[in-house]
Subunit: 351 residues, 2 copies
Amino acid sequence: MKGTIKLADVAKAAGVSQGTASNVFSRPDVVREEVREHVLETARQLGYPGPSLTGRLLRAGKVNAIGVAAVEPLAYFFDDPWARALLAAVAQVCDASGTGLALVSAKDRQKLDWNIKSALVDGFILLCVEAGEKLVQLTRERQLPFIALALNDDDPSIPSIGVNNVGGAAAAATHLAELGHRRLAVLATKFVNDHVGLVGTGEIERAIYSTSRHRAIGYWQALEEFGIQRHDVPIYETNNDKTSVETCLEHLFSAPKPPTAILAMSDNIAILAMSWLATRGLAVPEDVSIVGFDGVPEGSMVEPGLTTVAQPFAEIAQRAVQAVLEDAMPTKREMIDVTLVVRGSTAVPKT
Amino acid sequence: MKGTIKLADVAKAAGVSQGTASNVFSRPDVVREEVREHVLETARQLGYPGPSLTGRLLRAGKVNAIGVAAVEPLAYFFDDPWARALLAAVAQVCDASGTGLALVSAKDRQKLDWNIKSALVDGFILLCVEAGEKLVQLTRERQLPFIALALNDDDPSIPSIGVNNVGGAAAAATHLAELGHRRLAVLATKFVNDHVGLVGTGEIERAIYSTSRHRAIGYWQALEEFGIQRHDVPIYETNNDKTSVETCLEHLFSAPKPPTAILAMSDNIAILAMSWLATRGLAVPEDVSIVGFDGVPEGSMVEPGLTTVAQPFAEIAQRAVQAVLEDAMPTKREMIDVTLVVRGSTAVPKT
DNA sequence: TTTCAATATTGAATCGATTCAATATTGGTG
DNA sequence: CACCAATATTGAATCGATTCAATATTGAAA
């Protein structure tokens, strides 16, 4: 079409000042009814699409939207159960407060850089599952408020919200131990890059990914209370995907004395494991008990329901969004507690 | 912090004109290397966060982002399998073209209105599963390019991309009939608002939701080729959720001669049905064959794999994004073909 | 009729960049 | 040394709204 109609055109056509015209749209109560009606009518006739957002935000300086960023392909937000659950919660909070939501991501460093630089948002929520420092650094340059979630780094200068991984993991392990399980195995999320399979205790203690490390430590601590030594609990590192989980399970269950219970560091791993066990004819919880971690909705939909350590997604989202919007970034790491949710996937061991 | 640093400050501090400073950031090749370095250094020392997007886009008039909108709570995008699959595909296309992605939605009419009006995007992709006309109308006012997906309306003046529902449904029904099934039932998506359960053929022919109507017609056409009359195929309307699907199944399988095959109008319904059948001790495909519709990734992850009518999400996303970005809206409805994907959930009926 | 307060409207300044015609600089030639 | 073309830089105009101090209008009370 031709040059679009702008507020000034409407004002002129309606015979009022631009200021009045502006008020008609953004503060209608302040202008006399008949003038308002007349201006609106004129606008309609001219086909004025309403105040342009760019002009408006140039003055306001606020976009009224937050970005959620991750070092992953954009599709990650829709594929990964944890990301999905978190985003659904964030979406809910945004919905309530009339805040927009923009997805920002890229696996490729350069693209991510550009995407973060050019996202029209007032602040960022960072999903630091991987390459968190890179993400934080890039975001810092943008000089917008941000908050990191699931940060694998203890740097206190990074505003972040974390969950009590040690405590949660301990609760999961305690639950299994109390049921009577003594032969346990762990299916872990990443400790280091590019490794899958059995991993030694020393490597874990030195692992760069602190989320996985903390969960492992939580398991160990709890099990030691029951006289189970860390060396007796094999820990398998997975990529949080079907292939690697199944590889690990193959290995685990081809051993002479397979475990009676599995501690999974994510619900995703747990669910994948359950479906592998089902195809192997192993019943959950009769033959094998399993506990997940995260508390994603899928956990309550599988059969049997997954016992898991639930993160309070709603609360995390609430705090994160608020922190970003009000630039009320916590001065230090905030830590949120998790709760054990017992469903059908755990029971006393057979015999 | 205090009043933020702007381009003019940097320019002054570096002793160059604002124009040059601008060029340093947006067209670096045009300014002499040493000047550029000097300006950049000055900017760094001042802590200049780079050209403000608002200022830039005010002139450029482009946001470089598209919005995806639906008349649903924002969490819908992360909960519904179809929406998820589609968004993942859209995300992929956006990723490739460096376009941002914003999620716009609200169940409440007024909020939706405001959200659409205030979304910083260059155009919209509309998910018209429900209340499509409302959505289209709201978007029209914004005067931005848009394209409707899954539109339940044949109005040719609405730029839209649809799938061949009749053909797809026919393929699904033909597949089952060829396997030898003669007692079939349909689990449908919405025909009208606020109804669940058995629905008559007349109501279907008059249904406002054309997606469901077309799929029903496709089933009928194919089955008639095999001598199965439409009145012999019960059609149950669901809300595409667990509760309503199970209600319908209860009803369906408490009848004297339950069906040997189910035609589900969405994979979501099909998957819910499969898990209900499992808890009832009915084996798929031995006791009951089932065919879905959509081709969402979850369909290949359930056990057995779901036979379904797959939409080419990647192609749909590709075309939709392109249409919006280039404002190359199709002059009339575009129709995309679907393909039957046979997996393990269908087999010849047990005697 | 005058005065005053309350309410409406105006218009110029502003937000922070980009753009482009005009001007300045540079280096190479005759 | 003068001249020209090529290249760099400048600065004012521009994008489209909002804001707010100043001014105009209205209605009621004195």
